[in-house]
Symmetry: C2
Subunit: 339 residues, 2 copies
Amino acid sequence: LQKITVRDVADHVNLSISTVSRALTGHPHVDEQTRLRVRAAARQLGYQPNALARALRSNQTKTIGLVIPDIMNAFYAASATVLQAALEQQGYRLILCISNNDPGSDARYLTALMEQQVDGIIHVPSTSAGAGAVRDFNRTVPVVELARHSQGGLFDAVIADDREGALQLTRHLLELGHRRIAFIGGPQEVSTTQDRIAGFREGFQEVGFLPDHAAIGLGGYSSAWGSQRTHELLKLPERPTALFATSNQILLGVLRALSQEGLDIPGDISVVGIDDPEWCAAWHPPITTYALPLSEMGLLAAQLLLARLASAGAPFSPTITRLSGKLTIRESVASLVQA
Amino acid sequence: LQKITVRDVADHVNLSISTVSRALTGHPHVDEQTRLRVRAAARQLGYQPNALARALRSNQTKTIGLVIPDIMNAFYAASATVLQAALEQQGYRLILCISNNDPGSDARYLTALMEQQVDGIIHVPSTSAGAGAVRDFNRTVPVVELARHSQGGLFDAVIADDREGALQLTRHLLELGHRRIAFIGGPQEVSTTQDRIAGFREGFQEVGFLPDHAAIGLGGYSSAWGSQRTHELLKLPERPTALFATSNQILLGVLRALSQEGLDIPGDISVVGIDDPEWCAAWHPPITTYALPLSEMGLLAAQLLLARLASAGAPFSPTITRLSGKLTIRESVASLVQA
DNA sequence: ATGAAAGCGCTAACAC
DNA sequence: GTGTTAGCGCTTTCAT
């Protein structure tokens, strides 16, 4: 079981390897007759081009690296799917790396991708401090940040309008008479967390109240954190009337805790969440959320990267694009205003 | 911004490129002093090895291809995470391909991975007919099938004991007095569907009943199918007392439909599911499921692949390993037996 | 312990 | 339209 190379194909049709190469890669100046013969021989011999050799020579791998924090999170899984579809269509492969929200792991993956000679990178940074590792690459290979952006404005970024999302959700809650709203946030270092807090605060400012400071809790992105925080909040003397979960994982933890405590939604307590995975609509009762525009984000990120790829080493100034999502009102919030 | 190569490092320390290569790759016969000098120079110059060139020469890419049908499905997402962790630990990268349950796409990815010279492949086949494409490769690069297995017994496979899972769930339902149980299955061509039907039938045979044939419905793997089928079933003159969802996506569709119809679980109707994503325990009420051992499966698949990798081209006979899951009884099934 | 030289499989100049 | 030649950046004999 020997590896078949261009050499073998060339020998088989009595042509030079360069002609074979041209015929196979669809070069213009090749006799149609010849091309057919070469193709037939290649198929017959079971020739499979070696992508490594090709890439080494032609200086492009047709491969994009994607670094995301967590693939179990429906948000990133959906993004990966969209990205893969969009890039594949242009003949690009995707190497997926899962950083687990660990900056070290993040940086290691970025480096590995560079060594792998990827043509471009889509990156969800683990911390807004920015990946020192990529800093240098950006002029070598294009990088676009997705969902979160790092400080310094060095990279193109496609993100959701998290401030706006949090604001709309907060307004909705306030309009229905809620005042004691507990904000259950993600890790502080991440740009989305900061933006969401800003939106939350802004909502309160609009009506002239300030959120009870103790009600803002920042932690991780896990459902465990959502669950733990919910249990804490329920023990408070003045229990919040509404819980604001800032990621789908956190929301899951909140719901689990509420289920454990036997509390009714929205009878006993109201719940809203940022991001709208499929189960939110299926829940009993359906959960009110701010749906993030993940398809659009993925698509746009892919297009942006492709554009940078096309315009080679042309200088550019990084743009950051904010896409708005959609407030999706369902049945998880009670009205506290007297009729 | 010029690419730094071994050549540059060599020039910088006045050594030959072969010595630099040896020093960097940790070859034994290199002077410690020299090694240090080389490493320092490499770091200083910002040298990054070209993985392509290395792989081309050394004939191994340290890369594993993973082909899965759907990453939005919590089951595969979890598998991918486990696999990535296990393989990374051994210095392997993962290229992720999403086949969308399309055999054509499946085959194309497999081919692409081969051209990419991956060292091994982990494959969730889209159809039990088996991927013709890989058939030939298997002697070239090791392939292990995950979750589903294809016919012909050509490949190593690590799968869940789906028959057993369906059997336990069916027994549980039967013991609680259910007789009209609707089985909402996935696509017929897939090995897991076949195994799950077998388990379902076996359960009924044990008690001497046969399932109402009309109650077995086979469709896709989407939540849309689960939802649609549920609506159909509810219109039946003799409505089933329990719904058996055979994947987490289907379960989601079932739950959404039930929520829309305003039916209470388990008061009006009982529900069980195969596979136990995080939201099942958080649901209100918590859903009874058969939890698939996905961590173990992923881990075992990785180990098996690594073992095949280690024993080079040694002949072997493919083994298929079945791992059992765990019946997880919660609160979504009503007892129909008179006290 | 180090160096010189030969490729891995392919594409891209450059000839003709 | 086709062949010849020269590498891409690296590892790896084979010398010394």
